[in-house]
Symmetry: C2
Subunit: 254 residues, 2 copies
């Protein structure tokens, strides 16, 4: 039985603890955070809480905190010689204190405590130096997901950046669409089917094969009219930048 | 029984004909196009094909062609005094020839012949001047979908623009993510769960409530590092524009 510690009180920590707490193959021994008291949202999992200073050694320690706090937290861990990983897509292993063996356990998904997830489909990207550490991370990752991969730092950073486009930027495009609906008192629900279908198409086909719209067609007249229709300067900039990116990508001249 | 003509050989025409051909409440009398011969993809529906000049009057004529061809096609229709509509999100009714009654029948979805759709959920935006015309369009729209709405030109144009953000721009963000994966020989499939979840969250919650990532947090260090990681100049511009749009939207200063 692999013993595990999770450090952190955010969305990733919450989802990992939820998974480990109900997994018969893993023993989630303790939960730690920078606060004196455990956040209420974690209480239902029944995992003992401690401050980082009072942690006891476990086979694996997962630091699931903001990128900027990882180094400090890893230094505060009171034991040495164990495997300690972070869950960040964009950070190297080297930011972790060298007093423990270092690694990465990056679940590639958007996490909110309030939104349930089918965890077994989530890709988990693992990285470590020693093969025994890689093997342990594989065992833990496959206990949670069918979709575990050993991915090096450069590839993981690129993948994280791809995720920024596929999630953060996509979601902001949805947000602008939502605002445009609000401007006309139209329910955002009118766009639900389109959003679902667009995502579905990107998965059943490849997105570069299913691009449509005035920018793809190089329809300058519609592009100019639509940009003028936008009253919000921030929307205009996103509109013109993405339209130009699309026309260029598909070799259209305006 | 309402008699219907569909003009056009593209994706929207194909999906409308597929729906009408199997609908017991509607009589799809004829299919017309600018070509002499019917495109092979329409043959299976068994609807008689003619050129536009040879069309016979029907209660409703739906022009499902590119925005730039609508006016010309509407003028080429040999009859007068019937209801003729286009399917464009971004065009007024006025571009249609005034020799027939004018209207709009805009299905808000992304259409490809190769991708099956659950048509009854697709919002159909209708518009016409006379109430008898509006009523006929409602009847036709509700025969295909549970989701028909009377929406005026200004609102429809704004909705179409919202759809450009929710579909065209989102899909190009997926495409850039796909390219970034290719650069590292990573399978695009690694992002499937994230894409699905991001779309699902935008529907179960509102997108402005679920934004995450470095731009939302105003994390300048990660933003600078990520932008540097991008080797493609076109990707860099999309990255910086959308990151700035997000930081501004959420009131973060860099």
């Amino acid at each position: 039985m692999i013993t595990i510690t999770v450090i952190g009180s955010g969305n990733v920590a919450w989802h990992l603890i939820k998974q480990f707490a109900q997994n018969p193959l893993m023993h989630l021994k303790q939960h730690a955070g920078r606060r004196e008291q455990q956040d209420d949202s974690f209480k239902a999992f029944g995992v003992p809480y401690t401050t980082i200073n009072d942690l006891e050694p476990t086979d694996l320690t997962i630091i699931a905190v903001n990128d900027t706090a990882i180094a400090e937290v890893s230094h505060a861990i009171p034991y040495t010689g164990q495997l300690v990983v972070h869950t960040s897509g964009s950070m190297t292993m080297d930011i972790l204190s060298p007093k423990n063996n270092r690694g990465v356990f990056y679940p590639l998904q958007t996490f909110s405590k309030s939104v349930p997830l089918e965890f077994k489909k989530i890709p988990i990207c693992i990285e470590a130096i020693a093969s025994t550490d890689v093997n342990m991370l594989k065992k833990v990752a496959f206990a949670l997901s069918e979709n575990a991969h050993e991915i090096n730092t450069i590839s993981r950073k690129k993948l994280h950046l791809a995720a920024v486009f596929a999630n953060n930027f996509t979601n902001h495009c949805y947000t602008i669409a939502q605002q445009l609906c609000q401007e006309e008192d139209l329910p955002f629900e009118l766009l639900h089917e389109l959003i679902t279908e667009t995502a579905k198409k990107a998965i059943t086909h490849y997105p570069d094969q299913t691009q449509t719209g005035p920018a793809k067609r190089g329809d300058q007249q519609v592009l100019e009219t639509q940009e003028k229709t936008l009253s919000n300067a921030a929307h205009k900039i996103v509109y013109s930048t993405l339209s130009k990116a699309i026309t260029t990508f598909y070799g259209k001249k305006l």
